[in-house]
Symmetry: C2
Subunit: 463 residues, 2 copies
C-alpha cells in the first residue's frame, strides 16, 4: 500500500542540507538522531565546507548529490530555504522537510518569504513538511528528522499529527524518559504550506503500523476535506484531538473575549463529533490517550469495576465515573459470592470493591489478586482499576501478580493506580509498564483515560 | 485560647487502651507512631497482660491508670469499646479516640452497638472522636493517634477534617513520601457520634497553627451549624471541601440514579458557596490544595503570567486559564521592553511568554531567570508559572535561580512545571520543594491550583 506521503516515512536515501559538524547545532543534532535511531538507509550531509560529520562524508552542494535521494531535510535560515528547495527539485528530489522557522509565524515581512516558498512548491511540485516544523519520525523505518536531541526513539503503534513541534522535541523527550511507550509515526506539520492534517490523517488511516491517531492542531487548513477523511478513518481507528485556539484565538482567550470564540468553538465541536473525532481539552490528556492506546486492549464497553483501599476513594471515584460516562454495574451473583468469600463477613462486597479488609485478613497480594480476578471474570465488567495501597511496613507484593492477571484476561483493560508510599508506586510503574500494564500516579487518571477510551469506542461503533 | 476540642490536640498524658506488644497490630502501631513523632507527654499503654510495649511499662486496667490522663485512645473490638469508654469516664478521663470500626457503617445489628456508645456518651459527658476513625494528628504537639505506620509526620500549617481515615493513613503516607509538606492538625471524624465537622471547623478556625483548612466529608451532621461556622471562618482562612456522595449516594451514583442526586447536590453547592467554602471535585485536588497552602504566599488576584517553551503550550494553557477563572493580562510597557531585550527580534514578546528563543540565544537559565523576573516585577501580574524545559543535552541549570526569585518576590506565588526529561523534573522537585517552591509533573496542575486559590481569595474577600 502506498500513499502520496509514504516516501517521507520510508526513505532509502536522505540528504541533510545544512548539516553541521558543530555539536549542539540543529544541523548536527538531525544527523546524530538519525544515527542514534539506527537508520538503515544512506545519509548524505550537505555543507559547502565538506569534510566529515559524525563520520559521514559531506557533499558540498545539492547539485553534487547522487541520484535517488528520497527526502531532503533542509536546516537553513529561512532566507536560504527557498533556494535550497529549488536546487533539490532540480536534482530530482521529490520530498523535503523544512526545519527552519522564521516565516509566516513571525510577521508580514516574513510571510512574503513563505509566499516565495509556496511559489517554489507550485512550480516544482516538490512535497514538503513545514516550514517551521521540528521534524518527523517513523520508528518502523528507524528514521527521524527531529532537530531535538532525542536519541533513540522507542517504537510504538500510536501516531501523532501535531501543529506544534512538541511531539518531535520536548514532549516526546518526556514520553521517552517518563513513560514506557513510544510512537509509530510523528508528523510535525509546522506552517503546513503543503502537507496538512487531512492528508496526514489519510496516510495514517491506511498505515498498518498505526493503530490509533493523536492530533494536536490550532486550525484546520481544509476543514471539509479533514472531516471527510476523519469520518472514514474513525470507523477503523480511534482519533483523538486537542484543538488549541489558533495564535490569534489564544490571544483572544488571554484577553477574555470568550463569547464569540465560544460559539465558534461549539460549531467545531459538533462537526468533529459527527466525524467521530474524540475531542480532549488538556495537554496532559494527549499523553494519557497515547499511553492507553499503546498499552491497553480496546475497551469493549463503559462498565467499570474498581478496587480501592478506602470507602472515601470508592465514593469519590463513583461520583467521578458517573460524571464521565462510565457505569459501575452490579456484579453477577457468582462474583459477589467469591468477593464475600475472601472478605471478612462484616464487609458487604459489591461493585466498586472495598478490598482492604480482605487484604487485612489474607495479605495485600491475596486481596487484590483474588478481588481483581473475580471482577475480571465477570461478564458485566469491561475494565478493571485496582488502586493498590503500597507501604513497606505493611508489605509490598511483587507486581507480577498484576501482570499475570492482565495477561490472563487480555481482552479487558487493567489500569493501575496507587495510594501510600511514593517509592513503591515508582517500583510498580517501572516493573509493570515495560510489560504493557499502565500505571497512574493520580487516582482520577485511570478514569479520565477510560472516559476517553469509552468515547472512542462509541465513535468506532457509531451507526 | 482554648476550645472544647483543644485537649485532643495538646494532651500531656495519654492512655492507649488495647496497646499491643505484637508488631504490626494496631495497638502496637499507635504507640510506635507516638514515639516516632517524639511526643513529649506521657504514654500509658493499657493491656491486661502487663509487661512492656516498646519499652513502656504497661498498665493492666483502666482503673489502675494515674490521675490526669487527658486523652484515651481506645483500640478494642467494637463489642468492648462501650465498656472501655465507661471505665475511662469513671477514671476521670474526658476525651477519647475510638479507633475500632464495626459499628453503624456495617449493618443494623452493628448500629445498635453504636447506639449503646451514644448512650454512654450522653451519660458520662465524655468527648469522643470516632468510632471508626483512623486517629488524629497534632504536629505542633508532636502527637498522633494514627493506627497506620506513618512514622514521623512532617509538620505543616494546613489542617484536615476528614470523614475518612485516609488523611491519617495512606493518603498521608503519600503526602509524606511523595510531597514535601505536612499537616498541622488532622481530624479523622469516623462515624462522628460526637465531634463532627462544624465543631472541628470551629476549632481549626481559631487554631493559630492552622492557616488553611481542607475538608473531606460525605455528609454534614449539623448542616445549619456548619454553614454558620463556615461563614465566619472563611473570612479569615481558606476552606476547601471535597464532598463525596454519602455511602448510599455513592451506591446511587454507581447505579446511575443521578437526577435526584444532581438537584440535591446543586442545593448543597449553593449553600457552600454562600458560606465561602470552595468546593473541589477531585480527590487529587485535596492534595494540590494542601500543597499550595503549605508552600505559597496568598494569591492577591487572578492575573497570571506564564513562560513556556512552545507556542502550543502557550495556546492550550491560555485556553485553560480562560475556562478556569484566570486572566492573562497585558504586561506593562517596561516589562515588554525587557522581554524583547532578552529575546531574538523575530519573536514578539507578550503575555504569555514564549521564552525558548531567548534560551536558545542566551542559555536556559538566563532566559527563564530574566523572563520570570520581568513578569514578577510587573504590577499587572499576581502569579507566575514557568514551564521549564529540561534535558541534559541542552543543559540543566541549577534550580537555585528559581528559589532565589521566589524569595526575592515573596508576595507572588511561583508554581513550577516542566517539559522534557523526567529525571531532571525529579531533580528540580527534590531541590525546590523542601525550600517551599512547589513543582508539578503535569502542565495543567499549576493552573488547577491557581484556579482553586483564586476562588479562595474571592471567598475571603467577599462582601
Amino acid at each position: 500500500m502506498s500513499h502520496s506521503l509514504t516516501p517521507f516515512f520510508e526513505p532509502r536515501q536522505v540528504a541533510v542540507i545544512g548539516a553541521s559538524a558543530a555539536e549542539g547545532k540543529s544541523g548536527y543534532v538531525v544527523v546524530a538522531n538519525m544515527l542514534a535511531n539506527g537508520y538503515e538507509g544512506k545519509i548524505y550531509p550537505v555543507n559547502p565546507r565538506g569534510g566529515r560529520i559524525l563520520g559521514l562524508p559531506v557533499t558540498r552542494s545539492v547539485a553534487e548529490l547522487p541520484e535517488g535521494i528520497d527526502v531532503a531535510v533542509i536546516i537553513l535560515p529561512a532566507e536560504q530555504t527557498v533556494q535550497a528547495l529549488r536546487e533539490c527539485a532540480a536534482r530530482g528530489i521529490r520530498h523535503a522537510v523544512l526545519l527552519a522557522g522564521g516565516f509566516a509565524e513571525v510577521d508580514e515581512g516574513r510571510a512574503r518569504l513563505q509566499e516565495e516558498l509556496v511559489d517554489a512548491l507550485r512550480e516544482t511540485g516538490i512535497r514538503t513538511l513545514g516550514p517551521n516544523t521540528s521534524g518527523h519520525t517513523s520508528t518502523p523505518f528507524k528514521f527521524t528528522s527531529s532537530l531535538f536531541p532525542l536519541g533513540k526513539i522507542r517504537p510504538g503503534k500510536v501516531s501523532f499529527i501535531a501543529q506544534t513541534g512538541n511531539f518531535g522535541t520536548h514532549t516526546m523527550k518526556y514520553i521517552l524518559t517518563g513513560e514506557h511507550f513510544g510512537p509509530a509515526r510523528v508528523i510535525g506539520l509546522g506552517n503546513k504550506i503543503d502537507v496538512e492534517e487531512s492528508e496526514a490523517l489519510e496516510y495514517l488511516g491506511q498505515d498498518p503500523e498505526t493503530s490509533a491517531i493523536i492530533i494536536y492542531v490550532e486550525s484546520l487548513k481544509k476543514p471539509r476535506r479533514f472531516l471527510e477523511v476523519a469520518r472514514e478513518v474513525t470507523r477503523r481507528k480511534p482519533v483523538v484531538m486537542l484543538k488549541g485556539g489558533a495564535t490569534e484565538a489564544g490571544r483572544k482567550a488571554a484577553d477574555a473575549h470568550t463569547a464569540a470564540m465560544g460559539s465558534e468553538d461549539r460549531i467545531v465541536d459538533g462537526m468533529l463529533r459527527q466525524a467521530g473525532v474524540v475531542r480532549i481539552h488538556e495537554y496532559t490528556h494527549l499523553v494519557l490517550a497515547a499511553k492507553a492506546f499503546s498499552m491497553l486492549p480496546p475497551l469493549q464497553g463503559n462498565r467499570v469495576s474498581f478496587l480501592a483501599p478506602s470507602g472515601a476513594m470508592l465514593t469519590v471515584l463513583s461520583d467521578y465515573c458517573t460524571g464521565h460516562g462510565l457505569t459501575i454495574p452490579d456484579l453477577q451473583p457468582e462474583t459477589v459470592r467469591r468477593l464475600q468469600e475472601i472478605s471478612p463477613a462484616l464487609i458487604r462486597m459489591r461493585n466498586p470493591v472495598d478490598i482492604w479488609p480482605s487484604c487485612g485478613v489474607h495479605g495485600v497480594e491475596f486481596g487484590y489478586r483474588e478481588g481483581m480476578e473475580a471482577v475480571l471474570r465477570d461478564p458485566n465488567i469491561d475494565a478493571v482499576v485496582p488502586i493498590i495501597m503500597l507501604t513497606r511496613d505493611i508489605g509490598v507484593p511483587s507486581p507480577d501478580f498484576i501482570y499475570d492477571l492482565a495477561r490472563k484476561y487480555p481482552e479487558k483493560p487493567v489500569l493501575v493506580a496507587f495510594s501510600a508510599a511514593k517509592e513503591c508506586m515508582d517500583l510498580y510503574k517501572d516493573s509493570l509498564e515495560p510489560r504493557g500494564v499502565p500505571t497512574y500516579p493520580d487516582i482520577e487518571q485511570p478514569f479520565e483515560t477510560l472516559s476517553i477510551l469509552a468515547r472512542c469506542r462509541a465513535a468506532l461503533n457509531r451507526p
